[in-house]
């Protein structure tokens, strides 16, 4: 028997990989999944599909963007550039100002540790199988976007 170690992020692909393994004769008790708690790092500006720290820096930007767009569109009726340009400038200006306030607040004021950038290993998957099956298992893991695999005897 060999064991194959692999790492994944949380996704539907991970469950598809497990399903394929079971279809290829790997027993459920021979699959061992270890969900990880991820390392924290500095706060990120925007959340991605791989990674979200929850308190993202879009709140103040969206708030000020909306407020400034209202004022910009109103005052725009008097200004040379008209309400639509002034509204858009207000929205963009407010958003940038809001993001700057948040960046300053979180990165300079409150240096808290947040989730790591980019893709994180979130799950370690260990599969025990016959040596003859090892290649098939590794193929399935790679096919479903494993970050890395290792074979141990």
């Amino acid at each position: 028997m060999v064991q194959i170690f692999s790492t994944f992020e949380h996704s539907t692909n991970l469950e598809l990989a497990i399903m394929m393994l079971e279809k290829n004769g790997i027993k459920k008790e021979n699959i061992f999944a270890v969900p990880l708690t991820n390392r924290k790092t500095e706060r990120k500006l925007f959340d991605t599909i791989h990674n979200a720290d929850g308190v993202s820096l879009i709140s103040t930007g969206a708030t000020l963007g909306t407020a400034f767009a209202v004022i910009g569109a109103s005052v725009g009726f008097k200004l040379a550039w008209g309400p639509i340009y002034c509204g858009l400038i207000g929205a963009a200006g407010g958003f940038i100002l809001g993001v700057c306030i948040d960046v300053f607040y979180y990165k300079v004021f409150k240096k808290k540790q947040r989730l790591l950038r980019g893709k994180n290993t979130e799950v370690i998957l260990v599969i025990e199988c016959d040596e003859a099956q090892a290649d098939t298992v590794e193929d399935i893991l790679w096919h479903h976007y494993a970050f890395g695999t290792a074979r141990i005897i």
């Binding site: 060999v2 991970l14 061992f32 109103s74 040379a80 008209g82 005897i153």
Partner: protein
Amino acid sequence: MDNYRNVENKFRRYKAHISIAGTTQFHLRNPYAIAWWSAAFPGFGHLLLSKYLRGLSLFIWEVIVNCNAKINLAMVHSFCGNFDEAKKVLDPRWMLMYIPVYLFAIWDSYRTSVDMNKVFLLAENEDAPFNSFSIGAMEINYLDKRKPAMSVIWSLFMPGLGQLHIHRVVTSFFALAWTIAFLYFSKVLLAVHYLFLGQLAESTAVLDKQWLLFMPSMWGFAVYDSYVNTVENNKLFNIEQKDFLIKHYQNPSFQVKKGKVII
């Protein structure tokens, strides 16, 4: 068909529910952010909290009373410094009824988000099972991971599409429907058309001030709501999958080998 049916009802609090109409979940919110969205447009704060009925009631109320009292028009005149104009356009028969409901929306959404944050902490600790998959004759909804940036982009193109992206059907339908009214009556797109032709004076003249002022809030809210909920839905997916893996793929008899790595 759901993958979990709450028959025994033995838990006190549930943190999420996936249904045909959308993904509803408790998560931590900044009460001030919620209060701000209520101030921008009564109802938005409640919609962010997934309290659709009162959110939509307040929203419709705002449109009716604001349009009759001419609050938006008076705002434009005030921002421009034409205070006499502002006084002239306001209708006192409607204006005074605006104030209590406006303040209620802000106060109530703030209070509710403070409360719901507490409920979230309790529900998270209790960790009750919840429905995470739903299929019916009209729709399908399930937990999944989506790109927050795509929600923002689609919301910018048309408020409501970002919500459609993450299956918030109620908010989506409402945002799409009302955006039609706001865009049509404000003549924003006509003004944009004139801008493309380089006719700036015509562009300004064609705009309806009263209706125009609904749009910035509509856009801002659509972006914020779809972004925040995409992120929270993704987090819920991770938590649910983690629980599933621990429950089904951690056999106590499994022993990790201490042999050699084959390269």
